[in-house]
Amino acid sequence: MPVPSPSPTGPAGGTRRRRRGPRTWLATLPLLVFTGLCFGLPVAALLYGAVTGTDPATGATRMTGEHLQRSLQGPYLGSLVGSVQLSALTAVIGSVAGVLIAQAVVTSRRTWLRSAALTASGVLANFGGVPLAFAFIATAGISGVVTRLADLESLGWNLYSFTGLAVVYLYFLTPLMVLVIIPALDGLRPQWREAAQNTGATGWQFWRLVGLPVLAPSLLGGFVLLFGSAFAAHATAAALVGGSVPLVTLKIADALSGNVLVGQENVALALSLDMIVIAGLVMAVYLPLQRRSARWLR
């Protein structure tokens, strides 16, 4: 399709901008179609399923708020709260630990340490699901090697609990944070630190007034990523704690593909919708903060 090129002696900016409009829109069309198909359709189906119900006898479909209401009550509400607690806790600890490790790696002069840490993080950040759970069962479970060698049980260690699950999650969340924060730490120019020192700032003052504000968007971004990873994790928790730590992903799986409870599919959809809302809320907190601190970066 021939595209009319703007004449060099073109009219005023306003017109030119208007003419460029449709072409810009065309360029985003593949993205829009992709987003619409891969995200829009499932969300629409989710929304539809969450607010409608089918009468098994007649097969008639009607609107109802019953599923959403049920998803916010009793054990379902408990699982939402449990998931948020676990995700927030592990995301905070993972972020802090990840930043500390990354800072150590960045400031170290040894390049082998850096490449080793980055490679290990890349591998560990993608180590999840049932293999991870079983690795932990074999090492830190009740009859695990480490448990027996170090007599962890007498210290009150129990892998199959909220704490145990948090430790397992940190195993892949911390490396993830290392991966996302290293480029940002690299971006902290040594000159800034020197300038701060020259003007008599202490290390703490540098971090409080320069380092952390500049890093804030990346830190927040990393935190949101960690929260999301932990919030959506399912297989590890399913293999490790079954139903004894209430998590929303486990509840969705129970409702969607179980052998026990019949006709819970719509509640599962409602729970998924709740998850989207919570993820949206986290993003809603993150975005304005990010915009605020983004002005520190060029």
Partner: protein, 381 residues
């Protein structure tokens, strides 16, 4: 958004044209189509013209779609192989680890498609709800009358196939004295040792475990709460570990005591005999609970004759004995014990049980499940 819809319309048109073309091409071969229609509507082998005609029609289809049949579960692997060897039909096994809910979802989502499952092996609640929704084709296998009355739908839309008892599996190499009853499980010597096969709000066998524990603790079919309380007590004492027992955790010794169906536990005993695990199975006398799975034919089965032939095979002495060989108790076992067609060697190997099983009614089951869904989390956390 014009493009996608126009594209869709083109695709639809193309598909319609193709269908017409294929239909034209297939027209001379009307016999198969006629037989298929007949098989689809038939409610017994006699209606098709006897077993011979059914076999012929099924072999013409040449294919059977099954879903959710793990090869190491109740000897399904051998059943499938035996069926394939006996008839010229290829069994296409999809998603062996699927749950009943997945099976129903597959039936609904693939209405009229060639890939839809032909036959279903369902938890009883899903068999009942699926029948109520009109998803199953009524069909009486030749042995239908021999199935005990409490274990079949009067309209033959589903009937039980095989089942077992809640049992306690125990690694005798790691545990000095194996527990024999639910009361035993509370002893302090079993700290950190007792597991279920999954989460009872999801896994049928774990649900059975809680139900049996209820019966062992003055509960009833209508009242599962004592079972939930029992596991809360086990958890509090530290005996209960929430890790889902699987062949891997059994072999590793992480779940040295596992409450599961007796046929699975007995299967583990065979599987791990040479691997340093001495797996003992006992059916606890204080909480006897049996549960059967049910068999049903998809009303819109793409291979209706093969589906019906599979059913006849499962409910023949050969099929029932193959389940029996996998330590599952086939539904025709009482009849087959009476007429001598049950394999005596396999029967002798079954874990010992006193008395005959009784089953909760639909309403009792629903009530128990509702109570479990509501209270399990609270009790365990």
């Amino acid at each position: 958004m014009f493009r996608p819809s126009r594209l869709g319309a083109t695709a639809l048109l193309g598909a319609a044209a193709l269908t017409t073309l294929t239909a034209c091409g297939a027209a001379p071969d009307g016999a198969a189509a006629g037989a298929a229609v007949k098989a689809n509507a038939s409610t017994s082998a006699a209606e098709i013209g006897g077993m011979k005609a059914l076999v012929a029609a099924a072999e013409k289809e040449g294919k059977l779609n099954v879903i959710a049949l793990p090869v190491d579960w109740a000897n399904y692997g051998e059943l499938i192989k035996a069926f394939e060897a006996k008839y010229k039909i290829k069994v296409d096994s999809e998603n062996p680890d699927a749950a009943s809910a997945d099976e129903i979802a597959a039936v609904k989502a693939r209405k009229g498609q060639k890939r839809a499952p032909d036959v279903l092996d369902l938890g009883i609640a899903f068999a009942r709800s699926g029948a109520a929704e009109g998803l199953f084709a009524p069909y009486k296998v030749e042995a239908f009358d021999k199935i005990p009355a409490g274990q079949k739908d009067t309209e033959a839309r589903w009937y039980n196939d095989y089942g077992g008892y809640v049992s306690i599996g125990c690694d005798a190499k790691r545990i000095k004295t194996c527990p024999q009853t639910f009361a035993d499980l509370l002893k302090p010597e079993y700290k950190g040792k007792v597991a279920l096969n999954g989460n009872p709000t999801k896994s049928g066998s774990a649900f059975g475990g809680v139900y049996a524990a209820a019966l062992a603790n003055k509960g009833s079919f209508a009242d599962i709460q004592p079972g939930i309380d029992f596991f809360a007590k086990l958890k509090k004492s530290g005996n209960f570990i929430p890790v889902e027992s699987t062949p891997a955790t059994v072999e590793k010794g992480e779940t040295p005591i596992s409450i599961d169906w007796d046929y699975l536990n007995a299967g583990y005993a065979d599987q791990f005999r040479g691997k340093g695990v001495d797996w003992k199975v006992s059916v606890p006398g204080d909480g006897v609970y049996a549960q059967f799975y049910s068999q049903a034919i998809n009303k819109q089965a793409p291979n209706p004759a093969a589906a019906r032939l599979w059913m006849e095979f499962l409910y023949s002495a050969e099929g029932q004995n193959l389940w029996l060989k996998g330590y599952a108790r086939p539904v025709l076992l009482p009849a087959m014990t009476a007429d001598g067609s049950a394999d005596k060697g396999s029967v002798a190997k079954l874990p010992k049980v006193q008395g005959t099983p009784s089953f909760p009614s639909s309403a009792e089951l629903d009530k128990a499940k509702a109570a479990l869904a509501e209270n399990w989390d609270k009790a365990l956390s």
